[in-house]
Symmetry: D2
Subunit: 126 residues, 4 copies
């Protein structure tokens, strides 16, 4: 990519296209089955877990600049694989998240969930 | 949230605000330390792994409607926790992904990475 | 398994055989590729993560009887898949662990690692 | 550990003691809360996932010697953290696995589970 001009990515739609081009240019498409991509996503999620494993809750709120940058890169990796997976499965990420938040709003009504830990602090529905 | 009017979420910035409001309304903020959120993200990533664990590569490319909807919800959960974590750490998701793609473009030049599996099919840098 | 007499399992070698018989009796062997089994193991590890995600460090040290039993079952699942994977890959679990501890003893000498967090509290070598 | 004589580890009980001594000698005990250890275990499970992510099912059954040794070390890491966690929670690993297999035998009767994929190929109970 000798003359690549790094252009700004200003939406998830643009990110999706850029990742698609990236994979096509490297002929990685045959590796990018949904099964392989969920594995890659789990690996990246664990790489994001790793810098936090021995930190206290408080320490995790006050990362050093180096820690913050490392975490930022792992967060980017998770988003990249998530976007790639959603592209292959023809899923609109923002729409999926909006639908899930609406589902969670019904599942965890404000009055019941207030300050309540464990299961009810979970955004997910199982 | 009796009179909640479900509004469309048209950007990651809007999603970030909606999730923030969701957590504030339920007083979940004290649970949302970075350490706890990376754990929640890993749990969701594994719930996305789960429906694929016994599928062949081919089967993973042809999900049933039910499987597809289940996967869509898990993808949403991953995005929701990722967005929440990025909000707390003051990380711009799209900027982080753009920077990482630029880094990866240098790390995996097209000519070297072409059709090359294993480490070099990885978007991540380690 | 109508007349199954539950016999005690007194070693990893016996556990390995029992799991092998269990899988054979159900014709699950074709599903048990190493790739699928590492996915199943990661899913179980995350199910073990899940009950701890919103707990403080202190709370995680004082589980209720119900929480303890749930965690015990998830720990069992991890061991079962780990044993099955090691069986397929012809790996002796205790020997592998002994070798790794010896490696770690050299990597983290007592005088350097004393009370030192982060990377150096890690048993693993990367 | 200058005069450490590496002795053979011939049971999980011995492994548990060796790991306990290892952690005590390095004053790592304060880091070893159940919450932190389940995180470490998930990180190791993902490191075991990583070498398999781009392999086909077939390739995962025919690892090179280098791949096999890397996988063996990651398997060891998982067992080490699992043993450490079980020690802290006073859980007998073999007994827990035996109880879980008995539970699974009732949950997945041979006649129903035969060659049946997805949920029913799962050793775990959810």
């Amino acid at each position: 990519m000798p003359a690549m001009i790094p252009h700004k990515i200003d939406s998830l739609a643009t990110l999706r296209l850029r990742i698609r081009e990236f994979a096509q240019a490297r002929a990685w498409e045959s590796y990018h089955t949904p099964k392989n991509l969920v594995m890659a996503l789990s690996v990246e999620a664990a790489e994001l877990l790793e810098p936090f494993q021995w930190l206290t809750a408080e320490q995790s709120q006050h990362l050093s600049a180096d820690q913050h940058e490392a975490v930022r890169q792992e967060i980017a990796d998770v988003l990249i694989y998530l976007t790639r997976l959603a592209d292959l499965l023809d899923i609109d990420l923002l729409e999926a998240a909006a639908d899930k938040l609406a589902l969670n709003a019904r599942k965890y009504p404000v009055e019941k969930a207030h300050g309540n830990a464990l299961k009810s602090t979970d955004f997910s529905n199982d």
